[in-house]
Amino acid sequence: MQFFDEMQGNADGAREPYQAFSNWFEEQNGKDLRRKARDAEHFFRKIGITFNVYGEEEADERLIPFDIVPRILSGNEWSKLTRGIEQRVRAMNAFLHDIYHRQEILKAGRIPAHLVERNEAFLPQMIGVTPPGGIYTHIVGVDLVRTGEDEFFVLEDNARTPSGVSYMLENRETMLQMFPELFNKVNVRPVSDYPLKLRRSLAACAPEACHGTPTVGVLTPGIHNSAYFEHSFLADHMGVELIEGTDLRVVDGRVAMRTTRGYKPVDVVYRRVDDDFLDPMNFNPDSLLGVPGIFDIYRAGGVTIANAPGGGIVDDKAIYSYMPEIVEFYTGEKPLLNNVPTWRCSEPDSLAYVLDHLAEVVVKEVHGSGGYGMLVGPAASKKEIAAFRAKLIARPDNYIAQPTLALSTVPIMTKSGLAPRHVDLRPFVLLSPNGIEIVPGGLTRVAMKQGSLVVNSSQGGGTKDTWVLED
């Protein structure tokens, strides 16, 4: 398979966006750079930007590998992407409002009704509920992959609690500390105001019951959660409280947090817990994490929950395959961003095709995430494929399949110099009644292993700083 390298392109010399960087890089001493790369690791440990790996007893805090070669996009490439992302995110929000109200899209037959109504992520409790400002998806991460000069695809949408934005910010801080002179030579658009924008965006969605300046809080499952660093990072940088379920309770018709001076109402809860763990009275009765009754207060306009409960259905992988229809239905425009062609294994023809081509395609669980439970056909052994085949036949509607994409590469720094590795990109999108904001950059994840197409950090992927140039 032929891969597009974002630094080298298919010609001699660096592609335009990489030229200034490449010139600088040529003048550097490889030994110094490798030393700096080691410094970066120390820096990350020091600030504690670590994650816990699920399923490991006494989980040691691990570092996500960081590579010092930036991933660079021109201003022009970026503005094309953002137009597509904006369109898609608007459609996602409109879709959620629709399926929890009049369900026009189902009535029009553009999406099979059972796909929505029988979806685990569809929350009947949300029917008829309009969240403050009409916003469901306050924060969205859109995972993009590239296969050529002008070919970008949306690999998946993350509309529940997309993570990784702290890496976007800390990666930039690290680069600024390590290579200040580089930023004098290349005009990189800043990302550091993301927390400010996030706070503003959340505050703009304050509930009816809020009078005065909205009180925002970040709700975390606690210090043992794999993304705890990010939760505390965001609360800290927004200057808001980091709360756990045990800090909250319902007081006088409001959701209130226990402070040293008594209970104080919270207006906007930026929750980083799943729907299931939000409210044991309304959802999962076994959850110890939630706030009993918070959903009733939510429905009564006493608190904003971001992202809205029940929003997960829009990033469901079975719904994903209908995104082109969804975008067209709600915006009346052709989608600007491509979807990856997707076979829904629930459909017999598709299933037959997928079973015949398992060694060529990527198969994913409909509700999976984090790179768990997927099959990358070209990289799998015969045994793995056989095992997966059995799973697929047993529960076809649990899977979708996509062609193995020729993901673009960006070089990483190795002991023997630069070497190409596959990447993806997750820009972060903020949606509020005041509009859409996309910070110029995002999280570039990189497969550190040669030839690997899996970039997830839980599977050994690393990250890079992502630069959007000032054109």
């Binding site: 440990r45 020091k46 800090d247 226990r258 001076r261």
Partner: protein, 313 residues
């Protein structure tokens, strides 16, 4: 501020102070061992007793033995007061209240944890003990320094300070209480000078040996030392000093929150005892009873603070 955050700050700084105090106790025990040889066994027992770790030690290891005890106090996970346990607990609390800490304070604590976990991954040979104890003291000082240099002087700072000084008062009281018999003007000691090594131990455990000599000319006397560690206004590890800091910071909380709690009364009462007391009265009342009374009062104050400021739901 969240009650949970107040709790985290309070305990983070209690644990840091405890780590430092434990390191000082080890240093003292070690020094006695160097200068006294076999006579040091008894010293190690009282070190364990001061750290409230004698029962746990005996249950696990039996007879006191220097290498065992040092290891138990430095790095044993079975000992919640070991330096390593304290540093891990301090860091765990720091993670919980990460948003309340400045970058400088967080990084100082986090690096302390990273360094000590590495340094204390294996038993420390005798020859390296002084260096390791140095490291612990330096790291704790760095955290305190970062806090002083960068934290806002608001309720967060107050809870951190209350934790530090309540722990310190508790530790000084325990050190004195374990050694109170040395300081008693008993029949045997009438007219003779105090056992030099014993009093030196007491003063060293609170980093007060040099200070004492500066402030008191001539031979050290039991009453002089006890008075120094209980009532001195200048000595930063004396009971009066530590309790006055707790009281002051609680006073700031009262001003800021505009509420007077029961814990404020307790702190005032404790301070009054130490402000108006005299060493003569203490000896008359009984040094041991006085000190164990204080240790109980400190525990009661801590409990009341947790309640008044809603540390827990």
């Amino acid at each position: 501020m969240l009650g949970k955050t107040a709790s985290g700050l309070y305990w983070m700084f209690r644990y840091l102070e405890r780590a430092e105090n434990t390191a000082r106790l080890i240093e003292t025990g070690f020094r006695i061992a160097l200068t006294r040889g076999k006579g040091a066994d008894h010293e190690w027992s009282s070190v364990l007793q001061t750290a409230s770790a004698n029962d746990a030690y005996e249950r696990l290891y039996g007879e006191p033995e220097q290498a065992r005890i040092v290891d138990f106090l430095l790095r044993d996970p079975a000992n919640p007061s070991s330096v390593l346990s304290c540093i891990m607990a301090a860091r765990q609390n720091a993670r919980m209240v990460r948003t309340a800490l400045t970058k400088e304070v967080w990084e100082a604590v986090n690096e302390t944890y990273i360094m000590l976990r590495k340094r204390l991954a294996r038993p420390v040979p005798d020859k390296d003990i002084p260096e390791v104890l140095d490291l612990i003291r330096n790291r704790c000082a760095l955290v305190q320094g970062a806090m002083h240099g960068t934290m806002l002087r608001n309720d967060m700072f107050d809870f951190a300070r209350i934790g530090t000084f309540l722990e310190r008062a508790d530790s000084t009281a325990r050190i004195l209480d374990v050694k109170y018999f040395v300081l008693l003007p008993s029949v045997n000691f009438i007219g003779s000078s105090l056992d030099n090594v014993q009093w030196e131990t007491v003063l060293r455990s609170v980093a007060g040996d040099r200070a004492y000599s500066w402030l008191n000319e001539g031979e050290p006397s039991p009453m002089g030392i006890a008075s120094f560690l209980i009532f001195d206004r200048r000595m930063p590890r004396s009971l009066r000093f530590s309790v006055s800091k707790v009281r002051t910071n609680m006073g700031y909380l009262m001003q800021q929150y505009d509420v007077r709690h029961q814990s404020h009364d307790l702190a005032e009462g404790l301070f009054a005892q130490l402000d108006n007391g005299s060493i003569e009265l203490v000896f008359e009342y009984g040094l041991h009873d006085f000190l164990s009374g204080l240790v109980n009062d400190f525990a009661a104050l801590s409990k009341q603070i947790e309640t008044d400021f809603r540390f827990e739901a």
